[in-house]
Point group: C2
Chain length 755, copies 2
C-alpha cells in the first residue's frame, strides 16, 4: 500500500484538490477566526496559531521543538506513506507502523498550521485517504488475545490512541479539505471508527478504566472536530442507555463495570482522589494523563462553558502535581502496581501534562524547570506559554517535599505517602487495590537514595513493546509473581497473598491512614492500619525517616505491628540490591537451590541461605551502587532469616534474578517487627577507599508495645539514645498523651514523640 | 599518641628549631639552586619550585589542584596528628590512618615548598618525629597473614608505599630541618626502615614483582634524598650478593625469584614488553606505575646521567600509552587477570602517569585531553607543564584505535589485542600467565559497547579495602573461581583449567600471535594459537570485528579451532549480562538448581537451563543496558546449551550472581566453534519503543575448514552473503593464497580474505 503504487490513479484527483485548496485558503484569509466552527479549534486554535506564528524565531525551546518535529516529519514524508493491512501484536511491524502513523499525522497537521506549508496538509490528507480506503472494508483485527479487539490494532485501546491523535490532524487540515473530502473521511472512517470503539465494544468503552478514558477521548475529540453532538455526549456520559453486566471481567481480572458508571466525566470522578492521586498508580496515570488532558484541552477550547479544568475542584491539574511528586530524584516514576521501571517525566505525555498544567493552572514556575529538562514543548498555546516563561527566566526548581496523597474518589481509601529527607525517599503504599493493575501489597514500601533504588518494588513482569517477550504484553509471571504479596516489602501471612490474591476482595477493602506528619524537618512519619488482608488479622505499620546528627544520612525506622486471633507464620522480606557484605547472624547456604514454596509467588523464590536470628538485634549489611546499607532488626532465636533470589519456576527467564532477605516468624499470634534501615558511606573503585562502611546503630529495643503506644529506643555507637513513641490508638489532633517508661514520664500531644 | 599529649616536653626543643630554621632559610636564599645536594631535588626541584611560584594564579588546573590540596591538608592539620600503634589489616583504623598519613605528609611537603608557609613544614616535621619515636622500638606488625610482614602495616608492600611518599615529604622539608634533626630521622627512621623492607625482607625485595618495585622505589627515593649511594645501588640492582631460593613461592602462588633477578632496572626489564604492556595487566600496572614513574622522575632529577626515561628503548613512557589504551570508552581499565572493575584513568597514579608522560615524553596533545578530564595535575614541574598546555588550548582528543600489545620482556610471549570499531571494543587476551596475578584464560576475550560490558571478564574476587569482605584482601573464591578457565570466555576441556590451573606450567607457556590486522577501517582481526593448555590439544582462535553496511553496528566473528589427539568435552561459555529475550532452541529449566561440577570453578556454577542445540545455527538474544544482542553459533544436535549462573558453593556471598550461556560439545576430537555476536538496536523505557531488536544474521556456515584455511559465510536477512577466509597455516607477510570453494577460486595475499 505504498503511496507510490497508487500515484498514477490520482493525478486527476490531485488537480481537483489543488483547485479546491486555493478556494479554501481564500476563505480562510477572509473569515477571521472566532466562530465555534472555525478550524483549528481543538488543540491548536485559530488565535493561538496567530500568536505562535508571531513569536517564531523568538522562543528557543519552542523553536527547537518545532525544528526537531519538522526534521522528523520531513524524513517521514520522504519515506512515503505505508498503511499496511493489520496483522501483528505490539512490537510487530503493522502495529508499530500504525502507531507511528498516528503520531506523524498529528505532527504533520501541526506543521501545516504553524508553517503554512501545504505539503504537510497534503501528506495528512493522502494518508487519511489511504486509511479511509482501507478502513471501510476492514474486518476485526486477526489477533484474538484482547477482550476488545480493534481493527487497526489488536486491541480497541490502540485504535482509540490512534483516533485521539488523528482527530488533531484532521482538525488541522479541516479547512484544507473540500466538503466532499470531509464527508468521505467522516462517513467512511471517523464516524464508523468512533462507533466501533464505543457502541461496537461497550465492554471496552462503557466503564471506568484507563482504557475507556482513551475511548472517551477518541470519540469526544473527533466529535468536537466534526461538531457531532451525539459523539460528544457519548464521550462525556457514555453510551446512552447501555447497561453493562456488572459481574463481567476483563483480561486482567478487573470488573468491566461493577458500578454502571461510564463516560469521560465518570472517568475523572472515579480514579482520581481529591489530592489528584490516580488509583492505578503513576505508571498508568502517565499513560492515562494524555487523553485526560488533551481531551480536556479540546473541551476547554470548544466547550468552554463546561469548565472542564475546574471539574471536581480542579482535580485534573492537581493530578499533574501529584504525578510529578510520584517520581524520584531523576524524574523516574515510582513503579507502584503494574509500573514499568524507567518511565519518567521525560515521556511525551508529561510534556503535555507540564505544559497544560502551567498554562491552564497557576503558571507555577517550578513546572518551567521540568520543562527545561524535558527540553521540548507542545506546539500549541500552552507550549508557547511555557517556552516564553523559560525564555524570560521565570523557571524555579520544582521542589519535591514529603507528601501524602489520599486515594479513592473521596480520598477515603488509603493513599500513598512519600517521606523525603535529603537524598532519601521512602515511598509508603497504603492505597486501595488500584483497579485491575493493582498489586496485593498493602502497607508495602520502597526506598530510594538520590534516585537509585535501595529497597525495590519489583514493578510489573512485562517488557512493554518487546515482541520477543510475550508479544510485549503482560507475562504470566505478572500474576504469579509481581502482583503477589511476597514480591513486596510487607508481611505475608501463611504463604498467602493479601485478600487471598483476589481482586473481588481487594477492590472492596483498603488500608486507612492513621496519621501523616512532615512538619518537623528532622522527621517524617506515616502510619496506616489495614484489616481484612487476612481474616482475623490486623496490621499497623508506622514508618519514619529520621535525621539525627550522629548519623551521616537520614535513616528509616520501621514498626510493623501485626495482631491476629490465631497463630500464624509471618514472612517479611526486604528486596535489597547488590552484594551481601556482613551479617551478625550465622547462616548456611544450601548445595542446591530449591523453591521456597509452591504457590502465591513462593514458587518463584529460590532459597540461597538459611540463617537463625539472634536474640536481640540481627544485622545485615550490603553494598549497592557503591554505597553501604544496614538493616538492624529486633529478632528472637526462633526467627529464621532467609536469603532468597527470584527466578524459580521461570521457564522463559522472564523474571529478574534479584535478591531478598526474608525475616520469617512462625507460630506467632501478635508480633511487632521493628527495624532500622541505614544508608551510610560509600566506596570508590578509583581510590579504592571505603568510607563509613559500618552501621551507626548499636542497639534497637522495644520499650513499650501496647494497644495504645509503641516505644522504641535507638542507641547509636556513641552511646546516645533516641526514644521514638508512636500512638497506636485512635486520637484526636491535639490530644495529650502521657506514658511512663522505667519510671520516667513522657508527655506530648499529637501523633508521635521523638527525643 | 596525639600531638597534644607531648607538647609540654617540646617547648624548649621547638625554640631551638625556630632558631635553626631561620639560619637554614638564610642559607637557602643565598645558595642559589643548582648543586646536587640542594633540596628539594627529588620530585620538586629548586628550579621547578621557582617556576611554579612564578605562575601561581595563572594556570587554572594547577591552581585548582593546589587549592584543593591546601584545603585538604589544612583540614588534616586542624584535626591533629595521629600515629597509632599498628594493629589492623587493610580497612582497619591503624592501616587507614598510616596510609592517610603518608599522603598527607607528601602533600604538606609540597605545600611548604610552593606556598612557603612554615606551618606545613612544621606539621611534616612533627609527624615525622612521632614516627621516629615510634619506629625505633616498633616490632613486626602483629597480623601474620603476609609472606613479608611490615612494621607500620601488615605487609612490607604498604610500608614501602609509605616510604615512597614520605621520602618526598622529607625532601621538601630537608632544608627546614637542622642537621641534628635530619640525623635523628635518618638514623632512627629512614635508614632502618629502608633496611627492614630490603635486607630484612629479601623474599619481598629481591625479586621481579610489583611488590619489589615499590620496595626498590622506596629504598631508592629515600637514598636519593639522603644522598646514600649504598641505598641507591641497592634500589637499582638489588641487595648485593643476595642469592634467593629459586623454588620458593609467595602468598599468591608465584615464584619468589626463579631467575635470580632483582632491583629497579630488572623490574623494568622483565615485566614490560617492548610495546609497554605490563605482564600482570592494566589493573596492576596502574598500581605499579606510580613507583616506576615517581622513582624514575627522581632519578631523572638527581641522576640525569642514568637516562632512566630512555631505558629499554623508552619503555616507561611507552607503557603509559599502552595503559591508556587498555581502558574502555569511559577510561575504565579492562579487568584482565586480578583486576578490580571500576578502576580507571581517574586514579591518582594515572595523573602521575599522564603528567610525566607529557612532560618527559613528546608533549602528546592527546594526553592533555585526559588531564582535562582528570581535572587535576601533579604539583610539580610536569603538572605545571600539563596545566600550561591545557591553559594554552593545546589539548586534542586522545584517540584510541585498534592496537596490538605484545607481552614478554622481548615481546615474544603472546599479548593483548584490542579491536575497536565505532562503539565496539573487543579485548582479546593471548598474553602470558601474568605473574601471580594471572588467570587461566588463554585466548579469552571480553566485549564492550560504548564503555559498557557486554560479554564480561569476571575480574577478581576481592573487595579491595572493604574490611567486611575478608579484610579487603583476596577471597578464596579468587582461586576457586576467578582464576579458573571456566570463569572466562574461552574453551575449557574436560572440566579442567588451562595448564591444570598450575602456575608452574602456566608461567612457562604462552600463546603466540598468528596475525593481527587493523589496516582496513571495516575489519580488525586478531589470530592466536596456543598449545600445551591441555596436553595433546591445540587451540587457535581468530576474532574479527566487521563493519558491514547491512548491519547497524559492527559485529564480532569468532572462530575457535580446537584440535586434539583424543576425544574430549569442550565447554565454551559466553558471560552475557541482562535479560534472556529469545532462543531458537528449546531448553528446560530445572525445578531445583545444582552445581555444574565439583571443582575447577564448576562448583560455583548453578545450571539454570539445559537446551539441545539445533543442527545449523543456534541463536540466543538478550537485552542489557537497554540494548539488544544476539549470539549466532554453528551447532549440531549433539551440542548442549547450558544457562548457568555464578553463585554455587559460595557460603559468604562473595561472588556476583552473573549469568552465562555455555555451549558444551562432548566426545569430540577436532572441532571448530564459529559464532557471530551482534550488538543491535535499543530500547527506551521512556518511549517504550524497541528499535532493531532482532538479529540481522540469517545463516552462518563453514564452507572450508582445513589445516590451511577456514572459510565462513555470513548471510544476512537481506540475503546478502559475506565470505571470510582466515589463513590457519604459517605464512609469510605477502604470501599469496589460493582457495577453491564450490568451483570458485579465491585468491589473496596476507592473512585473511573478506568479500
Amino acid at each position: 500500500m505504498k503511496l507510490t503504487n497508487s500515484i498514477s490513479k490520482r493525478i486527476l484527483f490531485l488537480l481537483l484538490i489543488v483547485i479546491s485548496v486555493s478556494c479554501n485558503k481564500k476563505e480562510d484569509a477572509t473569515n477571521d477566526v472566532k466562530n465555534e466552527d472555525s478550524h483549528p479549534k481543538l488543540i491548536l486554535t485559530a488565535k493561538g496559531v496567530k500568536d505562535i506564528r508571531a513569536q517564531l524565531g523568538n522562543v528557543p525551546i519552542f523553536d527547537n521543538t518545532l525544528k526537531a518535529v519538522k526534521e522528523e516529519i520531513d524524513a517521514e514524508i520522504a519515506l512515503g506513506i505505508d498503511t499496511p493491512i493489520p496483522k501483528d501484536y505490539s512490537g510487530g511491524y503493522t502495529h508499530v507502523r500504525h502507531k507511528r502513523n498516528m503520531i506523524v499525522l498529528q505532527k504533520a497537521g501541526v506543521l501545516y498550521q504553524i508553517l503554512e506549508d501545504e505539503k504537510y496538509a497534503k501528506y495528512v490528507k493522502d494518508m487519511l485517504m489511504q486509511y479511509e480506503a482501507m478502513y471501510k472494508n476492514l474486518p476485526v483485527h486477526p489477533k484474538t488475545r484482547s477482550y476488545a479487539r480493534g481493527k487497526l490494532f489488536w486491541q480497541c485501546l490502540n485504535d482509540s490512541n490512534w483516533l485521539v491523535y488523528v482527530s488533531q490532524a484532521y482538525d488541522c487540515i479541516y479547512n484544507y479539505l473540500s466538503e466532499e473530502e470531509r464527508n468521505k473521511l467522516e462517513s467512511n472512517l471517523f464516524k464508523p471508527f468512533a462507533d466501533y470503539i464505543s457502541i461496537g465494544n461497550p465492554q471496552f468503552y462503557q466503564r471506568v478504566h484507563n482504557h475507556s478514558t482513551w475511548g472517551n477521548a477518541a470519540v469526544g475529540m473527533i466529535g468536537l472536530v466534526m461538531n457531532d453532538e451525539d459523539l460528544i455526549q457519548r464521550a462525556l456520559y457514555g453510551i446512552k442507555g447501555k447497561e453493562m453486566d456488572k459481574t463481567a471481567k476483563d483480561d486482567d481480572g478487573g470488573f468491566i463495570n461493577k458500578d454502571g458508571k461510564a463516560g469521560f466525566l465518570a472517568n475523572i470522578e472515579e480514579p482520581f482522589s481529591p489530592d489528584g492521586y490516580y488509583n492505578e498508580g503513576p505508571y498508568y496515570q502517565r499513560y492515562a494523563m494524555y487523553p485526560f488532558l488533551i481531551f480536556a484541552e479540546g473541551l476547554h477550547n470548544v466547550k468552554p462553558d463546561l469548565k472542564i479544568f475546574e471539574y471536581k475542584d480542579g482535580v485534573l491539574l492537581k493530578s499533574i502535581n501529584a504525578l510529578l511528586n510520584l517520581s524520584d530524584a531523576d524524574g523516574d516514576f515510582f513503579p507502584l502496581n503494574d509500573g514499568q521501571k524507567g518511565m519518567s517525566y521525560y515521556t511525551s505525555a508529561l510534556v503535555t501534562a507540564v505544559d497544560i498544567s502551567y498554562h491552564y493552572g497557576n503558571q507555577d514556575a517550578g513546572l518551567l524547570s521540568i520543562a527545561e529538562k524535558q527540553d521540548r514543548v507542545l506546539l500549541d498555546d500552552s507550549g508557547l506559554a511555557v517556552a516564553l516563561g523559560v525564555k524570560n527566566g521565570k523557571a524555579k526548581p520544582f521542589e519535591k517535599k514529603s507528601i501524602n496523597l489520599s486515594d479513592g474518589p473521596k480520598g477515603e481509601q488509603g493513599g500513598v505517602s512519600i517521606l523525603r529527607n535529603e537524598d532519601i525517599e521512602l515511598v509508603f503504599k497504603y492505597a486501595s487495590q488500584g483497579s485491575s493493575h493493582g498489586h496485593y501489597d498493602k502497607l508495602s514500601y520502597s526506598l530510594f537514595e538520590d534516585g537509585e533504588e535501595v529497597i525495590q518494588d519489583y514493578g510489573l513482569s512485562r517488557f512493554v513493546n518487546i515482541e520477543q517477550k510475550g508479544g510485549g504484553n503482560y507475562l504470566k509471571e505478572n500474576k504469579t509473581w509481581a502482583k503477589q504479596t511476597i514480591a513486596h516489602n510487607t508481611v505475608t501471612q501463611n504463604e498467602t497473598s493479601h485478600y487471598k490474591g483476589k481482586y473481588e476482595i481487594g477492590s472492596q477493602n483498603h488500608p486507612d491512614l492513621h496519621y501523616f506528619s512532615s512538619e518537623d524537618a528532622n522527621i517524617q512519619v506515616v502510619s496506616s492500619k489495614v484489616s481484612k488482608t487476612y481474616s482475623g488479622t490486623d496490621m499497623h505499620r508506622t514508618m519514619a525517616v529520621i535525621k539525627d546528627e550522629d548519623f551521616e544520612k537520614p535513616y528509616v525506622l520501621d514498626i510493623m505491628k501485626v495482631t491476629s486471633n490465631k497463630s500464624n507464620q509471618y514472612d517479611f522480606p526486604i528486596y535489597f540490591f547488590g552484594q551481601v557484605l556482613e551479617t551478625n547472624f550465622k547462616y548456611e547456604t544450601p548445595e542446591s537451590l530449591k523453591p521456597l514454596g509452591s504457590k502465591n509467588g513462593y514458587q518463584h523464590l529460590f532459597v540461597e541461605g538459611l540463617g537463625k536470628a539472634l536474640n536481640g538485634n540481627s544485622k545485615f549489611s550490603w553494598m549497592s551502587n557503591y554505597k553501604f546499607y544496614t538493616l538492624t532488626s529486633i529478632t528472637n532465636t526462633n526467627d529464621e532469616l532467609l536469603f532468597t533470589r527470584i527466578g524459580a519456576n521461570d521457564p522463559e527467564f522472564n523474571l529478574r534474578r534479584d535478591p531478598a532477605l526474608i525475616l520469617r516468624r512462625k507460630n506467632t499470634k501478635n508480633s511487632t517487627f521493628v527495624s532500622t534501615i541505614e544508608a551510610h558511606g560509600n566506596y570508590s573503585p578509583v581510590t579504592e577507599s571505603a568510607v563509613n562502611s559500618k552501621s551507626s546503630v548499636k542497639e534497637l529495643k522495644v520499650l513499650v508495645d501496647s494497644d495504645d503506644f509503641t516505644a522504641i529506643s535507638i542507641t547509636n555507637i556513641h552511646g546516645k539514645t533516641k526514644l521514638f513513641i508512636t500512638v497506636n490508638k485512635k486520637f484526636s489532633k491535639n490530644e495529650k498523651h502521657v506514658l511512663k517508661i522505667n519510671n520516667k514520664t513522657y508527655s506530648w500531644s499529637g501523633s508521635y514523640y521523638l527525643q
